[in-house]
């Protein structure tokens, strides 16, 4: 198998409006790809469509994880197959503690009869929370309820670290984080980098890429990738903005779905 993750000609719509207009991307195992682009170009739609959010309707295209057809799977099956999306706006769920939630998620992967022991689970969770400098009391807090923006982002990374996915999508994980929190989150991601695991990092700003070095940088406009390069592309975007890309490609309005 040549690639870990492959997206071919993906088209996706929300409320009948097409946002992704034929998106292609191939990622090898162990690679870190960054997707940058102005607001409204379809970056979050890409993340949500891959994960199978019910509001997004995939109308065309294919997505493969290790050769398996992701779009044929239910949302939970995608996760168990190794897909993980760190969400921009994680849900708050009253009455479900962070620990109960994560234990259910881990056990869903392990299957009946092979559940993780409570003591092993607690040790694992405590260890990962320490790495992310999270207050141990967050273990028994209700899921994301009353968490600050930064705490929610850290909690997403905690889930990633505990679930050990194959393909991680980080959707604007840097938004709402101060520089110290950003460094901690980036350290968590870097600790997870391995030859078997790939990362797709969606961000507005190059700042995050100072801490998580990408192998490839893609610019997204009008619902597809319009330019690809190495880390130097991100630096140029940070310094000069997106206008030069638009000029080079003759794009007038970079956004999608803004009729």
């Amino acid at each position: 198998m040549s690639s870990l993750f492959e997206i071919r000609g993906l088209k996706s719509a929300i409320e009948g409006k097409e946002i992704l207009k034929g998106f292609d991307l191939t990622m090898g195992a162990g690679e870190v790809h960054a997707i940058m682009g102005p607001n409204g170009t379809g970056k979050s739609t890409l993340a949500s469509s891959i994960m199978g959010h019910p509001k997004y309707e995939v109308t065309e295209g294919e997505v493969f994880l290790e050769g398996e057809d992701v779009l044929e799977m239910g949302v939970d099956e995608r996760a168990r197959a190794g897909l993980f999306l760190a969400m921009q706006y994680p849900s708050e769920i009253t009455g479900v503690t962070n620990a109960d939630f994560l234990r259910s998620a881990i056990n869903a992967r392990r299957g009946e009869g092979n559940e993780i022991s409570l003591i092993k689970f607690v040790r694992l969770m405590e260890g990962k929370m320490k790495e992310l400098e999270m207050n141990p009391e967050f273990m028994h807090r209700y899921l994301n309820e009353g968490f600050s923006g930064g705490e929610k982002k850290r909690n997403e990374i905690l889930q990633m670290m505990m679930l050990e996915p194959k393909l991680v999508i980080l959707d604007e994980i840097d938004s709402g984080l101060d520089i110290d929190a950003l460094k901690i989150v980036a350290a968590g991601v870097n600790a997870m980098r391995s030859p078997e695991r790939s990362f797709l990092i969606i961000t507005h700003y190059q700042r995050l890429l100072n801490y998580i070095k990408p192998d490839f940088v893609h610019v997204m406009m009008q619902g597809r990738i319009v330019k690809s390069g190495g880390p130097e592309l991100a630096e140029r975007l940070e310094a000069e903005g997106y206008d030069w890309v638009k000029e080079e490609l003759g794009i007038v309005d970079e956004t999608v779905g803004q009729a």
Binding site: M51, A79, M87, A105
Partner: protein, 434 residues
């Protein structure tokens, strides 16, 4: 709408009282209640036509068999109490109290835990000063019937400054659908005392044509600075009707915490009221319910503020399945003069079936300017966004919905102060939620 006619009255009430050798003051008191029962109308809970329910039921006096150790109690309630511990507990079986246990150390401090029937002889003054002063016989037909017929019952007195650590457990159990099952629980917490009570109402009726009427009442009097936590889990067979009026009267700086699981399988009228009489008194009421089958429920929480700087918070959360109906009323009333009072309430209903019905009716009645009050109410289905979030971590849809539904009720379940009662509530939830 017609009120069921009943042959019950003054003479019948007195006759039952005399047959149980009750003290003469109580016989006279019951006579009056019997007379009221013959004349008063049924209460009219919002949008719940209880006149159609089979409430014209007096039952017959069927005392349970008194036992000297918990091991001899009916098997059906064995799981509800810890036989090894010596924690305070009292058990009513059908029409009478059959077991009571209070550690010597608490007796020595002046704590009283007995049947209300016994207390009518041993603590006449305390009873005459408190019994049905918060829930009065003349409110309606059900309160009058309750006054005339209450049996067994629980009297808990906690003297000034005494703190009881282990929760006091009251188990009210019926296995005879024809029995008069009318327990009254009276808690008098004297100044600066602390106590938790856990009440379980349960039944094991089997196949029966009869309707068991649980016409129960709870009165809590928290004197200045006293803190009372009152948890109740009600779960009876669907052939039973659960009528439960709960009242707390709070003096200065007193506090009540209600933690209620209205989990009954049949029709329910539950009305939980805190009267914040004293300055600085506080009330926190948390109620959960699961409606299943075709049951009809009227669940009301109320707070009435008289005291300055008194505070109340009420939260009701109900999960509705099948064709069940719940009318959920929250009433926060702030009287003139209750300056700096704060009354808050929330009603949330989770609908799991298109045929179920859940109405949330928040009401604020405010007669004073310098106060805070607020309410929030919602009726909705399991949140699709939340389900998606959980599924995106590999959890199946069924398990995700289960986590969300149980989570919705957890803020009350996790606060039940007694492990056996908490586990009982979990078992009931698993049975009702499937």
């Amino acid at each position: 709408m017609s009120t069921p006619t009943t042959s019950f009255g003054r003479e019948a009430a007195a006759a039952i009282s005399r047959s149980k050798n009750e003290p003469s003051w109580l016989v006279a008191w019951r006579e009056e209640a019997g007379e009221l029962a013959a004349t008063l109308e049924l209460p009219k809970p919002e949008k719940t036509p209880i006149a159609r329910w089979n409430l014209d039921v007096q039952g017959v006096h069927r005392p349970g068999k008194a036992v000297s150790s918990p091991a001899e109690l009916p098997q059906a309630i064995a799981s509800l109490l810890d036989a090894q511990s010596d924690a305070p507990v009292i058990v009513q079986h059908n029409s009478s109290v059959v077991f009571a246990r209070l550690p010597e150390e608490l007796k020595a401090k002046g704590v009283v835990l007995s049947s209300l029937e016994d207390a009518a002889r041993t603590h006449e003054d305390l009873l005459r000063a408190h019994l049905m002063k918060a829930y009065e016989p003349n409110e309606h037909k059900l309160s009058a019937m309750h006054a005339a017929l209450w049996n067994g019952g629980v009297f808990l007195y906690v003297p000034r400054g005494v703190e009881i650590e282990a929760p006091v457990q009251a188990i009210l159990f019926a296995d005879d659908a024809e029995a008069t099952f009318v327990p009254h629980i009276l808690v008098v917490a004297d100044a600066n005392s602390r106590v938790s009570v856990v009440e379980n109402v349960t039944s094991s009726l089997g196949e029966t044509e009869a309707t068991l009427l649980h016409n129960g009442a709870v009165e809590v009097f928290a004197k200045a600075g006293a803190h009372v936590q009152y948890a109740a889990v009600h779960h009876m067979d669907s052939s039973a009707i659960d009528i439960s009026y709960r009242r707390a009267v709070l003096d200065n700086d007193a506090r009540i915490e209600w933690i209620i699981g209205d989990m009954h399988e049949g029709n329910v009228v539950a009305d939980t009221l805190s009267v914040l009489k004293g300055n600085g008194s506080t009330s926190d009421a948390k109620v959960i319910s699961v409606g299943t089958g075709s049951q009809r429920m009227s669940l009301t929480t109320r707070a009435v503020h008289f005291g300055r700087s008194s505070e109340s918070d009420m939260v009701t959360r109900a999960v509705m399945k099948d064709e069940a109906t719940a009318i959920i009323n929250g009433i926060s009333k702030i009287e003139k003069g209750a300056t700096k009072a704060n009354g808050q309430q929330t009603e949330r209903v989770l609908m799991l079936s298109p045929k179920a019905r859940g109405d949330a009716n928040p009401i604020l009645l405010i007669d004073e300017d310098d106060v805070k009050a607020g309410h929030a109410a919602s009726v909705g289905q399991v949140n699709a966004e939340q389900v998606h979030y959980l599924m995106s971590r590999g959890i199946t849809r069924t398990e995700a919905e289960r986590l969300i539904i149980y989570g919705f009720l957890d803020p009350v379940v996790s606060e039940i102060p007694l492990e056996a009662a908490r586990e009982q509530l979990q078992r009931i939830l698993e049975r009702k939620l499937g």
